[in-house]
Symmetry: C2
């Protein structure tokens, strides 16, 4: 065992960059070495390998079930948008047109109008609704789409900023503003639940400032997470559009009172970016650490001394038993050494490892090692599935607590721009009062190097004035450096 442990250590040291030396390089090493990603021949386009894609499938499964429970239906919209359609909503086109990919030829024929590969699909949903929504009986429309979108970014990184990324985009249309607003809030809460209860990522819920909101939205709500390096990652957003798009696309319905009205709209999305968030929240110098609820492999069973009679059979039996209990388990019976396997599955972030050797079998036990560390634990092979489930819950809780401590201990209050700058340089979130003027927000960027992450729902009165301009403060804002 000692030998295996040392081998594992050696392997790690030579394989990935120390996260405290170069966090960006550590991240790149992890996504490649854990086989989440391969680079394609085009900048900013990534191949999601089976292990990476499987994380996404698990996230999809959680969200898709929740969306449907709340009455949403999935649809499929075209991948291309005519330029004229994209231009119908003024703010929206200004936000997206500079960063879309344009299709100009179909086969050998030059197209009469350029078509962009969708960067988001508000315009497509509106165009469709304009065809099919006529009466209050046709509302609400509660739609969602799982797809990929393209945004021609200048700097790119796997998961965090791709020219292509996968996401879900929810789009809903409602009779009243109140109903649409409630939907916006409800879906933000679905995202918060995903982060907290499935990904073990604590969140700050809040509203974006006008400067940071989605192109075309009246209000954008966000869940912001703090990464290991104390930077912020926007992990899910929910937008309230009012009736702006409905007016631009001439969507009207006959209401119960027999008058024509414009409906109210929302959209909300979570993307594969959140996998980047998982990596940067929980990962360590041995590689990936996956929250058990979305880990493709929750438990790896490693037989020790496989040449001894009965070891492989016992390992198979243990694996089958866990599988039957609904646990995602993998038996590693390859011909590599146990030490190599330990390092390999640590790199891949498997939450729990079970070791099983001849003496364990004789004693009717196996030995569990949590990816979150701590002493190894001897588990009775009787009722092992229950013990394993309980250890997986424990791993989830330990991950959440560690991340929550990181957020708590690195959130500071500032009462001057200078103080904000010093705190931001140290790393972390800065809470500071704000007057609501965009000018002060721009100054914060210029002078303190931070952007507004959100106006948290949970407000605290930490001062009377905006420290930037001295005018009366309207909100407490969380500032930080964002991915």
């Amino acid at each position: 065992m000692i030998w295996g442990f040392i081998m594992a250590k050696d392997k790690k040291v030579e394989q990935i960059t120390d996260m405290d030396v170069d966090f960006a390089q550590w991240f790149t090493d992890v996504v490649v070495k854990a086989e989440l990603i391969d680079y394609s021949g085009i900048k900013g386009f990534y191949i999601m390998r089976p292990y990476g894609y499987s994380i996404w499938e698990n996230i999809q499964s959680v969200l898709d079930r929740k969306f449907k429970e709340l009455g949403h239906e999935n649809v499929s919209m075209p991948v291309l948008i005519p330029e004229s359609l994209l231009q119908k909503e003024k703010d929206h086109v200004e936000g997206f047109a500079p960063e879309v990919a344009w299709v100009t030829y179909g086969g050998s024929e030059k197209l009469p109008e350029r078509l962009c590969v969708r960067p988001t699909s508000e315009t497509l949903f509106c165009d469709h609704w304009q065809h099919v929504v006529h009466s209050w009986r046709d509302l609400p429309k509660l739609y969602n789409q799982w797809c990929s979108v393209l945004r021609w970014e200048k700097t790119t990184r796997p998961f965090l900023r791709g020219r292509e990324f996968l996401w879900q985009e929810g789009h809903t249309l409602h009779r009243t503003a109140e109903e649409a607003k409630a939907e916006t809030e409800q879906m933000l809460e679905v995202y918060a639940d995903l982060c907290i209860n499935y990904l073990a990522m604590p969140v700050v819920r809040g509203r974006k400032t006008d400067k940071e909101k989605f192109a075309g939205a009246e209000a954008t709500y966000t869940v912001e997470c703090m990464m290991h390096d104390k930077k912020a990652l926007q992990s899910g957003t929910s937008h309230y559009f009012g009736d702006g798009f409905a007016r631009a696309f001439d969507i009207q319905f006959t209401d119960k009172d027999n008058t024509l009205k414009y409906p109210f709209q929302t959209s909300w999305g979570v993307s594969t970016r959140i996998i980047g968030g998982i990596i940067m929240t929980h990962g360590d110098n041995s590689g990936l650490v996956l929250p058990p609820k979305i880990a493709p492999v929750q438990v790896v069973v490693i037989p020790v001394a496989t040449h001894k009679e009965g070891v492989l059979e016992a390992a198979q039996k243990l694996t089958d038993e866990l599988k039957a209990a609904g646990i995602r388990v993998k038996l590693d019976d390859s011909d590599q050494s146990p030490g190599w396997k330990y390092a390999q599955h640590e790199m891949r972030g498997v939450p729990l490892r079970l070791e099983l050797g001849p003496r364990d079998i004789e004693a009717g036990v196996c030995v569990a090692a949590k990816r979150t560390g701590g002493d190894k634990i001897t588990l009775s092979l009787d009722n092992v599935a229950e013990s394993v489930k309980s250890l997986l819950d424990q791993v989830h809780n330990e991950l959440y607590e560690k991340a929550e401590r990181n957020l708590r201990e690195n959130t500071f209050d500032a009462h001057s721009v200078e103080e904000a700058r010093e705190l931001a340089e140290k790393g972390g979130f800065v809470r500071m009062m704000w007057c609501g003027d965009e000018a002060c927000e721009i100054k914060m960027k210029e002078q303190a190097g931070v952007t507004s992450r959100c106006i948290p729902f949970e407000q605290e009165h930490i001062g009377d004035v905006c420290p930037v301009c001295g005018k009366p403060a309207k909100h407490m804002v969380v500032w930080g450096i964002a991915y």
Copy 2:
């Protein structure tokens, strides 16, 4: 009841074209009126509305489970392919380059190389494998991707021929040719199983002629189905590539004997086209008829005389009971008349309707009407879920038998080109011997108006010579007019 029935009839007559008068228009009417599809602003790009997309989700669920049981893993490849990558395999690029959509601008910047929106992803998988496959230990790679692809078709129709369509594309890489060939055959059988046991569509399994095979394949296998109008629909294909792509992309691995070898490759796909097949196989003049296994709504419960006390409650109770038994059931408690509802859910192809009125409730029964017709059936409310499951199986079997009869009664043997022409004009599949020369295949198209659908696995010796040229016959071929 009589009144409801008449209303339903009236509604149908005014709503959709008679399928025996104009089958193409009937098809278009059904996809629109059953709310499967809406037209987008771009020719050949369709919106799959919730009801249509839900059929696809049910098909996905069947296939995805089966793929995974057989050891396949899902991945995500880029949506764009550099022109130089597409050109690496000669036959492949000749087949696809004329019909792809080209991205030439990213934002305002003209791209140094054109990128096509993927028409299929063989080249992307090969490029990735070239990076990651080094040893026999890395094989097999058993991958699948769910995505949309683009092909710039001239004539387009919903489901049957879109410039964009959704599909799954399986791509696998193997140590030996035998293993790859076995995979090709296995996956064709998965498709046959989908058609027969889930979609109630009988199939002819066979191999495509060289003229009809996939661009770049050594062999293409197909399941062909006969539609109501006796035309053929290719419903799933599986391709064996040999090592042609591996050589073109320089994918090599060190085998167990320590020598460098080229691996062998397959791909296989089913697309949303198969939904067109379901519609054209089972639909009738009342609209869509959905096979129960993939119907989004398997059972609709319609309360009759809802103003009477206890009716809505009893209908809700019945609905809940069926739902608890795992049946996809919908209660239609809207304020429309029962007759309108009957017609509406017939149009949408719901396999089973349950009517529940005050007298039924008193008698402890409900009344079942199968979408496939026949007398209404009185079901006891005790054990109703079991009765309903049995009726759903019955609907499946009735659909399969009807389609199988259509295939059997409209498949004919021909012994001359003239006879083949006459039979084809009458409608149906024509079985005829063939020498194996492409020249004769072209003559069959010119003189009999048919193309080769496949060389069936189940061969019969119906003659010694190829009736086109008189030379010795090699195979029996099924000929027909295809979608």
